[in-house]
């Protein structure tokens, strides 16, 4: 049986752990606020981009000249999975949830006889996927040194994806990230970005016939890569907010568990201590009686 001193040490160590998790929770909470407002600030651009793009797509639909980025390559043999995860752990099932979604998707594609290539953004996803799909991972980026994700980061990733696409390295690209619903709910999401899927184009063309300067094709040629970057940027921001949300609730749980443990350990400690005092008293009394 553990001695009283051992028990005291254990309680102290649990208390220290609790302090750490509590501090992490508070840090995550304040970072969450920043990440959330960053995600919200980026929303108008993505929305406007979407409207503009949809309008143009509506007017070029049916044109054979539509760029491959919009139309797709005409086959769906090679799939690229762009998996965005966090750089760090201690955030509950956040990373695993994204990885699991990507893994299921990859397995389904492989079972259907397609070729799968994986592009990892973030260290955690890479580490988890490496075990299963070592040879499928073609690219891997870490954003560890980046304090706040800027549009430039997303643009760099988009550029790499574009290069791969231009080389004909894949036909369909799907983006995996975690959508931020609320602090306690993060939704792992798969979104096809090449060729882009438009949510049921809001039917009424609103009679808006646009004129284009220079022309549709040139605008599309600029707009589509940009849209790719915007989608990736949005995914990274949503991921950032989700990560801190997940970390906050994970750390909140950990703090509560530590509190529970401390309560139990203190109870056992006090019981043992009292038992020892009683035992010593009995020894003293029976010793005195024997005299």
């Amino acid at each position: 049986m553990a001695s009283l001193k051992d028990m005291r040490v254990r309680i102290a160590s649990t208390k220290a752990t609790q302090k750490i998790t509590k501090a992490m929770q508070m840090v995550a909470a304040s970072k969450l606020r920043r990440a959330q407002s960053a995600a919200e600030a980026a929303r108008p651009y993505a929305e406007h981009m979407d409207t503009v793009l949809r309008n143009i797509v509506g007017s070029v639909a049916g044109l054979d000249a539509a760029p491959a980025l919009l139309r797709g390559t005409g086959s769906d043999r090679v799939h690229l999975l762009l998996v965005c995860t966090a750089e760090r752990g201690l955030c509950g099932a956040f990373n695993s949830a994204i990885v699991r979604l990507a893994r299921d998707h990859a397995n389904k594609l492989l079972a259907a006889g397609k070729e799968v290539k994986i592009f990892c953004v973030g260290r955690k996803g890479y580490e988890q996927l490496r075990r299963l799909f070592e040879k499928n991972i073609i690219e891997h980026i870490e954003l560890r040194s980046v304090r706040t994700v800027g549009f430039a980061n997303a643009e760099a990733i988009a550029q790499q994806v574009m290069q791969l696409f231009d080389k004909g390295a894949f036909d369909v690209c799907t983006l995996f990230f975690s959508r931020f619903k609320s602090v306690i709910a993060q939704l792992p999401t798969a979104q096809q970005i090449i060729p882009p899927v438009f949510e049921a184009a809001a039917g009424n063309g609103a009679g808006a016939t646009y004129e284009y300067e220079p022309d549709e094709e040139e605008i599309l040629a600029e707009l589509l890569p940009r849209n790719l970057a915007v989608q990736i940027f949005r995914a990274l921001l949503e991921n950032g907010a989700s990560f801190y949300g997940a970390q906050m609730s994970a750390m909140d749980n950990a703090t509560r568990n530590a509190g529970e443990m401390i309560r139990k350990q203190t109870l056992t400690y006090n019981r043992t201590r009292q038992a020892m005092i009683t035992k010593e008293l009995i020894e003293i009394i029976s010793g005195a009686e024997a005299l």
Partner: protein, 132 residues
Amino acid sequence: MATFQFNLVSPEKLLFAGAVNQVDVPGAEGDFGVLAGHASFVTTLRPGILVMHRDSGALRVAVSGGFAEVGDAGLTILADLAMPVEDVNRETFAGYVKEADEAAAAASEGPQRDKLALRASQLRQLQAMLEG
């Protein structure tokens, strides 16, 4: 004077949304002014200075490129980078110009290079306007 809705957004945030009298935009194929009731059209932007006129006065905003969309709902500008002229940091901007120059110099002969060179020269033009 009739006003219309004007939204200026960059990927990182919404920079301006509100009613304006007139906006002068540096389009890729020449500057153009937008007034209320402008015909719908979409165009790309070149690096330049955008001027928006409100009742409270004019505001000059430097943009580094992007898209403009004029529709029934008003004018929407999707800028790559945008900030009021007074806030532009000269040194940072000189960095952009240098980057563009290097990119143009590094590119191989062809339309891609022409495009980069054009961008570098447009940036330099904007730099001169900012200095002036």
